[in-house]
């Protein structure tokens, strides 16, 4: 059978939307509710096993019981949550892959803001809250009635980094570049002095375009998220930079998805860009006789310093869940991000610890002493930006992606590509 698109798309739909969000009463410090909460997540493989272990630990020490249900990839998880919101049968809590999805659920009135629990008697003191990395709290906040409000809660976070092969850098006589200009020069030196591919990457909005844009002081959208802001001198510089590498210097090999990973692991590539969780995958792909120490550095800096974007996932509580379930979900989320657990999860998964106090936790310190690369992602967090929390970002991102692709393939000039994208994005934001 060829894919019956119509049926595929439509069978998933179920009737009627759920009732509007009910507001749970701010909990008095009562006894922990003896409820079982359902938690939809998208953590598979080894990470799924480690998460399962953490949940078992929680269940054995709490009255609240967590029933974790794996829902597939982030895309599948998103599709299931959207369908569940349609059907009015959401779980108590779920993993969300980033602020745009949170903003969509929020717009659909499907969420109870986490702020409500943070402020409740079960919540966190100002000092406890201040222990969380500020960029992460920003990543989970949306403006609600003009006030910055925590809508979701951080869990597994990573950021984009520069990967390098130290052996190739040494052979070419270049040091780890600290600015974008230094990176461009380093790529040219690698090209002229070695046989290696200087840079291999998948032209993606996140790994290159946005960090470069931010490092110039630019932004993708206006601060109120109502207008495109990337068609600016900073945006043009960001796209021109990639075009220069690809079309003038010819120092990059453009790949698809994670295809850069194997050549990099085989020692054929000097630089790559990916998130901090890529290291285990690269190490796994290395040939046994040609191992090297994977180098990790923050993304190069621009005039406004270094910037990177946050990846990974956050947690949300659904408005349709009964109040005691919501409270149970919060108790679990809070526990999950306590220093002990965030360190354990970080060391098990390669995601970053979420709190400053984690740096001083003995287990994390020991790991950092043994290998300082666990600190690279954490240090880069200072300049981390969340993906713009616009409910329309899902529509905007492919438009930007096409602008980058069109310019990189030489099918469109930088100026035209950005102008076309700007018009489309403004149409989207105007609610078309």
């Amino acid at each position: 059978m060829r894919g019956p698109a119509l049926a595929l798309v439509l069978t998933v739909l179920v009737a009627a939307c759920g009732p509007a969000g009910t507001v749970a009463p701010a909990g008095t410090p009562g006894p922990e509710p003896a409820v079982t909460i359902t938690f939809w997540h998208g953590q598979s493989g080894v990470l799924g096993d480690r998460l399962g272990e953490l949940i078992t630990k929680f269940n054995s020490t709490h009255k609240v019981q967590v029933s974790a249900q794996f829902q597939g990839t982030y895309d599948q998880l998103y599709q299931k949550v959207v369908s569940a919101i349609q059907a009015g049968s959401v779980p108590d809590m779920a993993m969300v892959s980033g602020p745009p999805q949170t903003a969509q659920y929020w717009k659909a009135k499907a969420l109870t803001p986490v702020q409500q629990f943070v402020d409740s008697a079960d919540g966190l003191t100002a000092n406890q809250l201040a222990d969380f990395v500020p960029a992460l709290l920003d990543d989970n906040s949306l403006p609600v009635n003009g006030k910055k409000t925590l809508v979701s809660w951080p869990f597994s976070k990573s950021d984009a980094l520069l990967y390098y092969n130290p052996d190739i850098l040494q052979a070419a006589g270049v040091s780890v570049p600290k600015t974008w200009d230094e990176l461009r020069a380093a790529l040219n030196t690698v090209k002229s002095k070695t046989n290696a591919t200087p840079l291999s990457y998948t032209p993606d909005v996140y790994y290159f375009f946005l960090p470069y844009l931010w490092s110039q002081g630019g932004n993708a959208l206006s601060s109120d998220l109502t207008k495109a802001a990337f068609n600016s001198p900073e945006g043009q510089a960001a796209l021109q930079y990639q075009v220069d590498l690809a079309l003038s210097d010819r120092t990059v090999a453009i790949t698809q998805g994670f295809d850069w990973q194997n050549p990099f692991a085989q020692g054929k590539v000097a630089f790559a860009v990916s998130t901090s969780v890529s290291r285990p995958f690269i190490e796994q792909a290395m040939p046994a006789d040609k191992k090297f120490k994977v180098g990790m550095a923050p993304l190069p800096a621009g005039p406004k310093g270094a910037a990177t974007d946050l990846f990974g996932n956050n947690l949300v509580v659904f408005a349709n869940a009964p109040a005691d379930h919501q409270r149970g979900a919060w108790i679990f989320m809070k526990w999950l991000t306590e220093t002990d657990q965030t360190v354990a999860w970080s060391l098990a998964s390669g995601y970053m610890p979420l709190r400053d106090s984690a740096r001083n936790a003995p287990a994390f310190k020991a790991a950092a002493d043994q290998d300082d690369r666990v600190l690279v992602a954490l240090n880069a967090l200072k300049g981390a930006h969340g993906i713009p929390g616009s409910p329309d970002w899902q529509k905007i991102q492919p438009v930007l992606g096409d602008a980058v692709t069109a310019a990189l393939l030489g099918k469109s000039s930088v100026k035209d590509a950005l102008a076309t994208a700007e018009k489309k994005v403004n149409d989207i934001l105007a609610g078309f």
Binding site: L8, V9, Q104, K107, V205, K411
Partner: protein, 309 residues
């Protein structure tokens, strides 16, 4: 009288399972899609917009482009896979040694999961380590970007892009065995006395094919034409997987939308852009286009079909 009624009830009972399934998974969703298409509907139902979503489709360059790409895809695959399928069927109809083995080999792709097939061909066309570029290199030709190439193979900015052409090639490869097997059954059904009589009259080779074989397999040809056209117009799996669905940029129909056939447009607007109402309108419109073309096919070709009684 009573007996007839009982028979009727029995008949409906036998039909019930199929009706239930078709009703629940085809009729009801289609009706519901039409209902959704009358609203602005993102994650939740918003305002009633009447037929405005349909009006928007007519002005949406991306939708019109997806129809154009679909047309190129259908015209580039259906005639080819039918012709190749018929040629294979004629070959396999001979008394060949290992005929059973050949039949199996040509039918094999068709019984393989489309997603698996698409993934394997994705590797073949991978620009960094794919076999396709390896072959080009061995004859000294320049490597291609294959599934990443938005430039057209005929004209730079006209479909099909190299990416779409590669997907079309795989589509033909995938379906040719199916066509061959169905044609083969059509060939087997031709009464031997007709061919024998024609032979006695001196017909052979091409003439035999032109005047006896081809007209007599016309019911099969007609059936395949309908099924293949409908299938190609709603094609999803191969194009979705090979066109880089799920890639970080652009949800479906990479590169630069040049593989975004109509079904992918629907998917993209529905899941990637969460415009549920608009996507439903597109799905419904696509359904109407398919229906119109099927009716046109019937008008054009059904009169030329010869049934042997």
């Amino acid at each position: 009288m009573r007996k007839r009624r009982r028979e009727a009830i029995e008949g409906y009972l036998f039909l019930a399972p199929a009706l239930l399934i078709i009703g629940a998974f085809h009729v009801w969703p289609a009706l519901y899609a039409f209902y959704m298409s009358l609203f602005r509907w993102e994650i939740l139902q918003e305002g009633f917009v009447g037929l405005r979503n349909y009006g928007r489709l007519l002005e949406d360059g991306d939708f019109l482009r997806s129809l154009g790409i679909t047309a190129v895809y259908v015209l580039g695959t259906v005639p080819l896979e039918m012709a190749a399928g018929l040629a294979l069927a004629l070959l396999l109809h001979q008394r060949l040694r290992l005929r059973g083995l050949f039949r199996l080999v040509y039918f094999l792709p068709y019984v393989t999961s489309q997603v698996a097939v698409a993934l394997v061909w994705g590797w073949v066309f991978n620009p960094s380590y794919g076999v396709a570029n390896g072959l080009l290199a061995s004859v000294g030709a320049a490597p291609q970007r294959w599934l990443l190439e938005p430039n057209g193979i005929v004209a730079q900015n006209a479909p099909p892009s190299l990416a779409l052409a590669a997907i079309m090639l795989v589509t033909v490869w995938y379906f040719v065995g199916f066509h061959a097997v169905v044609f083969l059954s059509g060939l087997t059904a031709i009464p031997a006395e007709l061919t024998d009589a024609a032979r006695i009259d001196g017909a052979a080779g091409l003439r035999l094919f032109r005047y006896i074989t081809f007209p007599l397999i016309s019911p099969t040809t007609y059936f395949l034409l309908l099924v293949a056209t409908i299938g190609a117009m709603t094609s999803f799996n191969l194009v979705y997987v090979m066109g880089g669905g799920g890639q970080a940029f652009g949800c479906a129909g990479n590169p630069l939308g040049t593989t975004q056939v109509a079904a992918l447009f629907v998917f993209d607007r529905f899941w990637c852009q969460t415009q549920l109402g608009y996507a439903s309108a597109a799905a419904f419109a696509l359904g109407l286009v398919v229906l119109a073309i099927t009716v046109a096919n019937g008008r054009l070709f059904s009169r030329r079909v010869v049934y042997v009684g």
